[in-house]
Symmetry: C4
Subunit: 310 residues, 4 copies
């Protein structure tokens, strides 16, 4: 029964078999250190997801390359039909004629249509009519993708580089700090912290959810210190730095909030390994008031000072 | 009172009358095996829903056909007005003139406007001005539809083909496996499993929700084994394969998750009938670690091996 | 204290003062029978909301009128600048020249740009450059509005025209039926029913939430009968038809669901007054099975037959 | 332990150190009186958020300026290539030629393409082909931004200018009023009110959540009076106006609702300081019924009359 309880805390669906020391389930940037293999291509593919999440440079590269390729294809078709079916062409060599066809295609697919060069006769007109329709659909798609890319809420929540073990009331606490450096308000912010540890004399890992001083704030306008009080209910109770290393701890934080500017939920994740934890420190206060206004110094998020542990 | 309790589990609103053997409420692909009849047309119609959910081939067919039809209609109008009101037309026969009008219409509705052919005089100009406005609205709509189609989150969750009855701790369990083969992260994933069974010596069916080892995971980066422990609270307790067939079991799974890439909730459903359940099997472990990274072999989702039941 | 409790059920924020007989807070179509007056114009205005919710005929009227008006304005500007600054114009009379300017404006704002008529010189070119930019922004807006109109999830949930008082187990129940006649799936459907009644010898009204047989279904593929069991905890317990009339009952139903095709929450509301309630009836079963498939006859939603009340 | 409890109510993550008198955490318009400093530029930047939330005048200024600048740049490029590569140019002086290039650029980037001026030869054609593509992407982006700006649900909830201390049942209550002056329905409306107060003889502030008569309404069609009963569990119990001033109270209200017309969650915030609280008043009833319809006079939201406190 106890065993069943523990599995409930395993948020990765990895069972309890979670390998040797030095293992990290969640990377510092919130991506998972897990790769899926042998996925049939058609299941892996998600055109929209790929185009919306790829880098801007790749996205524009994709658009430009697509534009270039499509124009080449249509230029070939117009050349096959015969450049004499395009009025106003002045190209003499076949290269010049191909270029005329290429630029005519570009003017058609963007619905620019200067008209210096225009299609004449059935075949050229049919191709041009189809190309302009394709062009409109292509740019309709680009419009959607650009909107999808821009409207996707990106939470750039910053986590303190290090977590600390700090005096907390009459006991100690495991703490780290968060801030939203952007101007958009995050509301109804929920945080969840769990720890994964190697079982003694075994390759298995156990997962525990940590009780927090508070798990939810309605507003998040300033810096927030997440506190897990290490009382006698805590899986960290009575453990030393050496234990943290030996058990190969991994602290996993997951945050969920409503982003007011986009009207959507945003998620953020991070993790701490034993080498990213400092003992006997306390965070420096980062807020300052003047003229009835509060100023939060974001650059102080990592600043801590020595403190006697209880 | 007990009766009222049971009806609470009927998630189909079908009352308890749920027919003869071989009945399946939910198809394997998650669609419902239920058809509504005698719906007044205007209530059934949902233009956006239809165009957003129809197959891509049908969608493009619809667009092309619409484009073709609208151009035919406007070509007829321009022909009635008289092709002599379009400058630059060179068609001699009425077929050629109709084609000139047709392509002029295409160049107008796409706002291409080469200008080799252009409207002259009031009637032709009025029609062209209206047509170009319609064209813009038409493609505004197409833009919205394409965005709607692409941004619709498609969860391609894969369920194991078979469920198994497997040893679980000191008892047995009903199990199946899930994986998200795509790269988009699913978060706050909730699953719910219920079973529908024929009542003895009756045409009625009863519905029960099954207790699960866990019903919610915060992350879903790997393969997840859903486990219903067959303890003495389970409606499956003490039943044999024959009972499963006789009672014409249908296990219904419903999953709900937040899709991080689209920022929307996604739902997924599937079902298992007795012939899709294997007894005395256990799932093969599909994760492997090397270089501190975990690899999940998606193709192993259906792999199981013999196991002694408790 | 009891008083405070009761006010909790008042979902209209109307306090308890809710007027004379014949009052209806919620119309049959789900709109509120409440009007706000003396709202400052700038607070009432919501451009997007108005354009997204207005009738299609009004919407297109608005677009066409806007198009016409803007072209008139620009035609005036081009005429003031002088039609001689537009190449290719052939108009002799000032009406003809104005029309040339009007259609040139239409060709510019739609970015059609045949080029038979084109701007020459600084002033005409500046106006045309601004007009084409405005045109693009105008149609960008139209694109957004059309998408907003189409993607707005419209739940056309049908409520049975009448509610019934029907035998239910050993007692009686207040019942009505719902169906979603459309193809889109509604998931995680929640319903809430309350009743408002005049207090005896007073102008005040009390509000009560009714306990339901079930308040939530995960799927809603068929017809759903909402049942409030009239047990001794019910505010309807022991009341007769006359009481319903005297207390001027209003039953208010509110439904909330996730619409799978749009990925959004949808809400639906309706209400029943005493004259829309039939006593001693039971709903006719509307589902039928053949070939292992279930058919729901939507047209039977209002069909009931006589039944002896308990 | 008591201390830990109190910190739970601090919704600003400011710890308990919250400064001197006259402090206001939340401005009247719902924005936070908190500023973040020393944020690295790349973390602060959120292109979409900035463009979606900036004022309309700034937004259009940005669009026009961008349009102008891009055309200047391309005009320079066409001039470098040589205006003789654009057919139909009639400019003599270099200024006239530059203007021809400028307007040709405008006609290209909007895909207007009159064709009176058209590119000739490889270099001019290449630049024009690229410019028209950029133009389409630029306006695709503008489409998305306009949609983002318009579809962003703006809740214009109005709070009464003053809160009042009013007789409530046998005790007194802290009250203020809300109304949604717009036509869009707000559903599932939740409100939360907390108070922050200076600790005696200390610079610290404590935070308390106030119990409300009701915290949630399903509909919000009329005016809603928020009531905090000042019973002996209330942090306001037994306090006088002087105490309110001495403790430098700040009442903070936060509202969350589902906006039916946009299909999104909306949030609203406001705050009251002691000078915005009137003692011994009660709100005037703002609803009136005639012809079975209820009329709410929005302008009466601030109207109150003298009332004897209990």
């Amino acid at each position: 029964m106890a065993k069943r309880q523990k599995r409930e805390f395993n948020d990765f669906g990895l069972g309890e078999k979670s390998s040797s020391k030095g293992f990290r389930a969640l990377n510092k940037d919130g991506s998972f250190n897990i790769e899926k293999t042998n996925i049939p291509l058609f299941e892996r593919l998600n055109f929209f997801h790929t185009l919306v999440t790829m880098k801007w440079s790749h996205f524009f590269g994709f658009i430009f390359l697509g534009y270039f390729t499509v124009n080449i294809i249509f230029a070939v078709i117009y050349t096959i039909i015969g450049v004499e079916n395009l009025t106003g062409t002045q190209g003499m060599t076949s290269f010049e004629q191909f270029m005329e066809a290429f630029f005519f295609s570009a003017q058609t697919i963007t619905t620019l249509g200067y008209g210096r060069v225009a299609p004449l006769g059935l075949p050229a007109n049919i191709v041009a009519a189809i190309e302009s329709l394709l062009g409109l659909l292509f740019f309709a798609l680009a419009t959607g993708l650009l909107y999808g890319r821009f409207s996707k809420p990106v939470s750039k929540i910053r986590y303190s580089d290090k977590a600390i073990i700090s005096p907390y009331q009459e006991i100690n606490g495991f703490m780290f700090r968060l801030i939203n450096p952007q101007k958009n308000e995050l509301l109804d912010v929920e945080i969840n912290v769990s720890v994964s540890m190697k079982r003694e004399n075994s390759e298995l890992r156990d997962f525990h959810i940590l009780n927090l001083e508070r798990e939810k704030v309605r507003f998040f306008p300033s810096m927030w210190t997440i506190v897990h009080p290490i009382d006698n209910n805590s899986p960290l109770f009575g453990l030393s730095t050496e234990d943290y290393n030996k058990k190969d701890f991994e602290f996993i934080a997951m945050l969920r909030a409503f982003d007011e500017s986009s009207g959507q939920m945003v998620y953020s994740r991070s993790s701490y390994k034993p080498e990213e934890i400092e003992w006997g420190q306390k965070f420096v206060y980062a807020a300052k008031q003047s003229n009835g206004k509060t100023y939060i110094d974001v650059s102080k998020i990592n600043e801590s000072e020595k403190a006697e542990l209880n």
